[in-house]
Structure formats: structure tokens, C-alpha cells
Amino acid sequence: MSDLIRRDPRAEWIARNRLHPLHAAAQPAVASWLSAAGVLRKNPHAVGFIGPNGLKRIDRSGAQQGGTAKRSTASAVVQLPLRAIEQPAFYIAVVPDMVGGRLSAHDKDLLGLAHKLAGSDGAVVAVIFGEHKESAFDSNGVDRLLQFDGEGFDGYAPEARVLALGAVERQLSPRHWLLPDSRSGGGELGRRLAAKLGERPATRVWQVADGMASGRAGAGREDLVQQAPRLILAAVECAEPVSETRHEVRPLALSEALVSHLPRIQDLGAVAVDPAQIPMAEAEFILSGGNGVKDWTLFHQAAAALGATEGASRVAVDDGFMGRERQVGASGIWVTARVYVAVGISGAIQHLQGIGACDKVVAINLDPTCDMIKRADLSVIGESAAILQALIERVAAHRQGAERDAA
């Protein structure tokens, strides 16, 4: 329905004409009023509205539905209060992983921990390398953003990154350094930084409270409790992420130029790994087929062309098109892919549970009303075979173009 407010001349005429048979019904029903004697009078019949099944419903949430108050304005997005720090007393430096150019859940927890340590007069600096795709730095608690660009930081360049962080240390001398203790870069970078700065870090920290940091020690059977050191490598869920404030994300720059260095480790690039060999639970890119896939040879071709690990819904596995070890969902494997392409899967709740941890979901389906479409970030409605065929051709054209560029 359009949000335009339109006059209804007929309704206005009825409201003016007290002899009209619809006059009484057109009067706005007043639920309570102050009588002449100063007593609050209530009309219980005017409260509520007639629901879709003909019964009178009363919505006590304040947002009356149906009835006379049909005309609702679009709900405004709630603007969180801005927390601006002009002159920070000290800095807390956070180096998020930025897997895929975005803040991961781990990074958000870490920023929450940083705000716990910053209190009311410290500022949280996020130090990131290279390009990013994140649009929600402000609501995740980044007061200052320090971005390092340049070819030197592309690919695997831990030595260059440690040098850059050393420059940050000299300029800002943050009270704490926080890094995610993750396998996707943070754990390694943090330990390299610790070795460079000569700081003894607390690792696998899962709680910082009252100045004491508790982290797992050994193989996880013991906890090490110590005074929170300057450098903290924190585990997942180390603190609640920031949710109630908005932050400035003011860009920050280094005053000194970075010294160039000769890297001792040279990155020769990623190695092609057979996607079928990657365990499904940790595959990054999954192409999953369900009941809507009719041409399974084409599906396998598409997976090979895209370089995706194959998955399947329960129906496809039950019908014998895929092995049981490929089943995604509550009774199969809970996947953590960054990109999950669901072909002909309508999205049973068990399947949606299994892909709960996926970042981007793409759905290819014939039915525009199915649950998978509601979950997906991009849905294409159409015959899966034709779309997969077009996708194979598009990827092949892209690969050829890249080869021609390289030659």
C-alpha cells in the first residue's frame, strides 16, 4: 500500500452529514474521555479491532493494527546515541582479522572487550590492512580507524604488518593491544607482534575482569589467571559486542612514513586444493543441491567449474544422488561456509539450522515463496539447470579473460 495520504471526500461528507446512515460508524471511536463531571469515562467497545477471523482483538503493545489506525508511518530506524571522544586519555588498539574484508563475530567480540577496557575516556583504534567492505564500524565500536594501504600488505605479509604495528606502537603507545587468537591471521600476527615488542602476551583469553585476564592454558585443561598484560590475544566470545552506542570511526593517520624492508618470506600465492578433499564443515564455498536439481551431471560440472565443495539437502541424499557424508543440516553437517549456494533447496528448518553460520547465502529456486529465499542474500527465481549452465559459461569466460590478461 502506498504511504501517500489521500483525502476521501465521501468519508468527509458522511462525517458532516449527521443524518447519513453511516455517520455513526464513520465517527472516530474514542476509547476514553473526561466527562463533564471530571470523571474518566471509557468505552470498552471502542478498544481494539476486528481481526482477520472476525474476532475482536486487542493489541496492548501500543502499535494498534487494523481498525481505524490503519495508516501507519514507516518505522524510523532507531538512531543509537553517538559516543564521541575528542581527547582520548589513552588508546586501546584492536587489530581485527577482517576475513573477507568484514568484521567477523570474533572481531566484534574483541571490539566489545576493547570498550570494556577503554572505559569512558579511552578511545578504541581499529588497525586494518588493505581494502575493506565493512559498513558497520560505527555500531561495532570503532572510535578511530587506522588503515594501511599499499602493495606491501597484500597477500601474506606478516613481517610488513608487524613493522606497521610497531610504528603504531611508537606513535600512539596504546594501553592495550587486542588481537583475536584465531587461525585466520590474528593469532599469528599477535604472537609476532609480541615477539617484536618484547611483551609477554596473555593468550586464548576468554575473560578480562577487574584487571585480571583468564585464558586457557596448555591443552585446555587449565586456566591461567594473571594481571591483564598489555598484549591480549582473546578467544571467541571474550566479551559481549558493542550494541548500544554508535561511534565516530574518525580516520587516523601515522605521522611517520613506514620504512620499507626486504621480506624474508615470499608469498607465491594460493595453491589449488581439490575442493572435494576439504572437510565440509570447514569448506569456504559450498554448492549444495536439493530436490529441485534434476540434472546431477550438470550440478557436478558446475561445482567443478566454480571450485566449490559439494553439499546436498536431506532429500537429495535420501534419493541417492549424493553420499550421506555430504548432507547439510541438523542431522548432517553444520557448515560454516562464507558463501553457500543452494540450488533447488526450499529450506526446511533443519537445513536452515545447518547453514546458520554461513555469511552469504545464494538461492536458485523455482518457488519465490520458499523459506530459503527469505534466508538468502541473493535469490534467482528460475529453472536451476539453465542458470547453472549460464553460470558455468560465465565463469569459463571469466577464466579465459584472466588468462588472456596474463598472457
Binding site: 592454558a217 596448555g218 594473571q226 594481571q227 569448506a283 546458520g356 542474500d377 571469466h398
Partner: protein
Amino acid sequence: MTDLQVVTLVSVGAHPTSGRPRRAEQDARAVELGLRLAGERLQVLHAGDPQQEALRAYLGMGLEQIKILEQPAHSDALPVLAEYLADSSAQLVLTGSQAETGEGSGMLPYLLAEQLGWPLVVGLAAVEQVSNGVAQVLQALPRGQRRRLQVRLPFVASVDNAAPTARQSAFGPARRGLLTGEEVELVADPLFASAQLQPAKPRPKRLKVIKAKTGAERMKAATAKASGGGGQVLKDVSPQAGAEAIFKLLLEEGVLR
């Protein structure tokens, strides 16, 4: 590759359930990788108690001896190892990525590389070739990916669970192998003066906190289906246009290789 001088550093592990001393899982993988690279000339080094029987499990993998720098528990292994390695002719030092007992911070390979001034490769999966003092190695990344790196010798490398699985330990060789001790200067670790080890507390499961003002909002949040909501839906488009949109998303996410 057979003339590569490989030293593997091993520690005493702890069984995850019983806590009994055993060979450490990742260190055993480092020994396995060392055996594949250097064969019989692999040197295995340990800093700690020479009477520790759990070390014999490494001997059972086919080693003749393990060199032990004698130290009591809770002393700092780093200076003695660094001194020993600096004097040795080692070209590649292999370690696990973190110890199974004690602090287990995983800092040892980093500090060792820093002290020796050698480069460090984290998560070594395989050494492909060594020529002219330059090694070409495969590094394990999360999600089963691999990356090829070129690094000059000598270097330190830590292995994690992506390295080849350790072979079984045989009883006979484990009995026959030698644990040769060497007296070294003792350096105390200052950590345990200020920090303490406690039995690990199970971490509470994170609760889904719903910040709703009214009952209706709470009800809605409790019964909501998992849905992105703001997804883009392409309807009535040609397969080519649909494929193009999907291709663009895949390219943006960087999953097409």
C-alpha cells in the same frame, strides 16, 4: 633434500581426558615431518626432565636418541634452546604450535625465531623443495586451503594439525633409544610468580539477549524464523542475467579462484 639439517623440538604432552603424560600430538607431527625430510639424520631436542618416560614414545617413532637439555619444571626453555640452536648447524627447526602442558601460549617458535634472527613459517604443511639455500614450502590455512611460500634457510617452522599424521610408536625402539642429557644453565620463568594455573572452568554458553521493551516484541523475537530479510530477489530474469548476478557476488566475496 636429504642434506637438510633438521632439528625438531619436542615437549611432553598431556592426555586430554586423563591428563597423563604422553607424546604431544603436534610435536609428534613435527617429528614425523622431520623424519620424512631428513630421515635418520633428524635431531630431536627436548628441554626438561631426562627421566620422563613419556619421551620414549618419540623414540618409538624410529629415532636413535633424543638430546635433552636438563631443566626442572617451570624453568624457561627459551634461552637454553636458542643458545643450543645458535651453536648448531641446524637449517630447519620444527616445533608444534603450542604445548599441551604449562602455559601453552604458543610463543616459543616466535621468540626463538626473533632471538635467532631467522624467518618463521607458521602452520607448515610440507616442504616441496630446497635449492640454493631457499626452501619452497606449503603453508596450511584455515578451511583446508594451502599457500606456497618461499623462504631462505635457515628458518623456524611450527606445524599444526594440517601436517602429516604421526606414525605409531613402536615398543621395542622406544626401549632401545637413548635419552642423552646435557647440563645447561638454569633460567627461571618469571610467569608463575604472578600468575596461577587453575583447573579450567567450563565457559558459560552465550545467551541470546533480546533487548525488547514490550511483550509483543519479545514474543516476536522468540518466534522469529531465521531469516536475512533484506535479500535481493531476482524474478523473471533470463538465466544469463541471474548467473551474472550470482557471478558478481562470488567474485566480490573472493571465493572464485
